[in-house]
Amino acid sequence: MTKIKIVTDSTADLTVDLIERYQIEVLPLTVTLNEVSYRDGVDITRDAFYQLMSTTEEFPTTSQIPPAVFAETYQRLAAEGVEHIISIHISGDLSGTYQSSVLAGTMVENTVHVHCIDSKSATIGLGPIVLAAARLAEQNLPIAEILETLNRVVEQTAVYFLLDSLDNLHKGGRIGKASHMVGSLLNLKPILSLNEGVISAYEKIRGNKGNKALERLIEILAEKIDPNKKLYCAIGYSDSNALEQAKYIQECLQDKVDCDEFVYLQIGSVVGAHIGTGAVGMGFYQL
């Protein structure tokens, strides 16, 4: 039996449970705030990070995983008898992490087969892709077949999310095609999409009364999800204040879609640094 290992990075925002259940190797990116660096999800809890962020004027910066860390990890896994590594990462348009993994893969190419995948997504989009890889690996399928399926999963993955404001996305330079909305003089809640690796403005909602923006996000999700196909999804929220809104998404959608499990992922410090508090959304794919 071919030994396959799934490697991802901390922006998949997987819970400890999921990481243990599927024996996934997770490497952390780094977030720096007030001149202190934290390994994402290792040195600081998510809630502590949002708490810290809300009490400082400083804007957190994030840094990719260096190639050397990947190379060491790949070599260690090879030494443990792994033959194929499927290394799935945050969109190359948003971080240099994927590039690092590709470079590290070539550094160890004589030792182990490394298959790097650009998820063209992150967090609630990346999480379900990694889980798909883990399930495929468990089925002991030929590696070519696994990779082919994963390609389709990546293609089908879509993320829609709602932010309190675009400020952090803009300050961090990850605004993508939503840049024309920055500095809007009107009080707008943006609904964004993350497709093909790039963040775009999907719709703008005016006014805060009656959860208009969240209702509209759910409406959009209901339009985009085919009720006749199995849904694989993750619902995400940034700070725990947004958890209630996240649950409301499931509440509204569960009877309209064919889904075995609504995975909840709390968005970690690296992505959180860029989207700020009050973010909520869903990533999904259907095959």
């Binding site: 095609k177 024309h180 909305m181 500095g183 809007s184 003089l185 009107l186 009080n187 707008l188 775009s200 403005a201 999907y202 719709e203 703008k204 909602i205 005016r206 006014g207 805060n208 009364k209 009656g210 208009k212």
Partner: protein, 546 residues
């Protein structure tokens, strides 16, 4: 005089006389506006449309003035200069007329006028999606049909124009019977009156008269504002728009003067009428223009404008300085008036704001220029005013290389609402559809003041009173701003409203606006209010409710 045919110069004089006559009477046509509000006036719009005609006629070299050439330039000038719905319809009537005359070479007969007016009517009706009777359309139809019916081979051109005017005025008097709003306001249709004024001018021009004294003001007509061309700064070859009027002490040789000005610049116009000569030119040497004309007499109303500075002001933010804009797949052009509103539009992703003042509805040409400047494969136009939609649609029809769609926003708040659905990466048609849907989510109102006494519906309106206009209808009249706005809001289904937005105009102080906001928040606790500086002229407040 009994002309049975005319040549190019006579035809040109007729048209220019029509232009001058309308310019002279534009204030009285403006006063026929149904709503007594100081906005988008018909006479002004038609006059600006015709000034573009005059400008294009002025570009014909002296030796090439034929009936066909004059017709061609007239048609093009009208098309490009068309402002306001009445201006667009007028441009279609002139375009139809030109269709007949461009085939005539150097002379036109009385019969050609009969056919020309009929063709003008055809074009006008075709241009309007839902023709409304009791307007300029009715009058141009009935007048031309009457002319066709009574025409005999013995008719001179003068006979033709007289017949057209005879029935035209009868038809004009009937417009209040066809359009109840006219009857209520006690006026006849302004656009129709404008058309007949032009034909009257043409008739006078045929008999050699080219200048007219204004009915209202004792001023010569040639005094007039030329359209402001919102040209991108880099397209401006000649920087200074130079205008003046000469009170001739010695006769100006118009042809020689034009030839001289053509050496100094372009967009040359020299019109001489009696002892007055009107001069307009775009040049880099305004001094030389003044020196030349001072030899003929006293200079009056000298106006020299730096069009580069002007044009830069019209663009959005500092983007106008760039040489050429980066090519885009999709761009949005919006009409807006008021710095605050301009900035709001820019902040919502609008690529180019066409500044349209209260009596300065943008022309088709303004839209064409903007479409070119934004350098995109597809462009969405937001007219943001019901009186500007047709000019935008005309520009969309004229654009050949760019896919242009008009999202027919009738108000500024509708334009803003439409942008909530704008996706800069999306397909133009899908965007236009989504934006049209989004704009229908808001109800709009405007607050302004009455410029004259009148009565409309149940309201007795006194000059200077505040008016609350909801979805195009006067719904509140009063003297107290807070009360008036509450009355207007009450006409906008506040029971189902979640969000109301107020954009305060240039005449309103921030303190007053904030006080109003507090009052409204206390009065309607269920509704969320937002207040922004629009800095628009004329309208104290623009309001949207959704």
């Amino acid at each position: 005089m009994n002309y049975t045919s005319i040549d190019g110069k006579q035809f040109m004089n007729m048209i220019l006389a029509g232009v001058n006559k309308l310019n002279a009477d534009k204030a009285s046509i403006d006063s026929l506006n149904v709503f007594p509000v100081p906005d988008g006036d018909t006479g002004t719009n038609m006059s600006l449309t015709l000034n573009s005609v005059a400008r294009f006629l002025g570009q014909i070299p002296e030796t090439e003035i034929t009936v066909a050439k004059v017709a061609e330039q007239m048609s093009y000038g009208a098309l490009m200069g068309a402002r306001g719905n009445s201006g667009v319809i007028l441009s279609q009537i002139l375009g139809g007329l030109a269709k007949v005359f461009t085939t005539k070479g150097d002379t036109a007969s009385a019969k050609d006028f009969v056919e020309g007016f009929a063709s003008g009517k055809e074009s006008a009706y075709k241009a309007v999606v839902k023709p409304m009777e009791g307007t300029i359309l009715t009058v141009c139809r009935e007048a031309s049909e009457y002319l066709s019916a009574v025409y005999q081979d013995s008719f001179t051109i003068e006979d033709c124009l007289n017949a057209y005017l005879e029935e035209g005025y009868r038809s004009l008097d009937r417009t209040p019977e066809l359009l109840p709003v006219l009857k209520q306001a006690g006026v006849v249709d302004a656009g129709a009156k404008g058309l007949l004024t032009i034909v009257e001018g043409m008739l006078a021009g045929l008999n050699g008269q080219t200048d007219f004294v204004s009915e209202n003001k004792q001023e010569t007509v040639v005094e007039n504002d030329y359209p402001e061309y919102h040209i991108h700064p880099d397209q401006i070859t000649f920087q200074y728009c130079t205008e003046l009027i000469v009170r001739n002490k010695k006769e100006v040789d118009v042809e020689a003067a034009r030839a001289y000005l053509n050496e100094l610049g372009d967009c040359t116009l020299v019109v001489s009428a009696g002892d007055i000569t009107k001069v307009h030119v775009h040049t880099n040497n305004p001094g030389q223009v003044l020196e030349y004309f001072v030899t003929f007499g006293d200079l009056n109303d000298i106006k020299i404008e730096n069009m580069k500075a002007q044009s830069e002001r019209f663009g959005v933010a500092d983007e106008t300085i760039e040489m050429e804009r980066e090519h885009k797949a999709l761009a949005v052009v919006a009409v807006s008036a008021g710095e605050g509103l301009n900035e709001i539009f820019a902040s919502l992703g609008v690529d180019y704001v066409i500044t349209g003042g209260q009596t300065m509805n943008p022309s088709t040409e303004d839209f064409m220029n903007a479409i070119e400047v934004v350098n995109a494969d597809a462009v969405i136009l937001l007219p943001n005013n019901k009186n500007i939609i047709m000019a935008a649609e005309q520009a969309a029809n004229l654009s050949q290389d760019v896919q242009v769609r008009v999202v027919a926003s009738r108000t500024i708040p509708q334009g803003i609402a439409s942008l909530m659905a704008y996706d800069a990466d999306g397909d133009v048609d899908e965007n236009a559809e989504a934006m049209t849907e989004a704009m229908q989510q808001v109800r709009s109102a405007e607050v302004t003041y009455a410029v004259r006494d009148t009565s409309i519906d149940e309201f007795e309106i006194k000059e200077g009173q505040l008016l609350g206009i909801v979805e195009g209808k006067i719904k509140a009249v009063g003297d107290d701003m807070q009360q008036l706005i509450c009355d207007a809001l009450n006409a906008m289904d506040m029971d189902t409203a979640e969000l109301a937005t107020l954009y305060y105009g240039e005449g309103v102080t921030e303190d007053d606006a904030n006080q109003l906001l507090e009052h409204l928040e206390a009065t309607y606790p269920e509704v969320e209010f937002e207040l922004y500086l629009g800095a628009q002229a004329v309208y104290s407040y623009l309001i949207s409710v959704e």
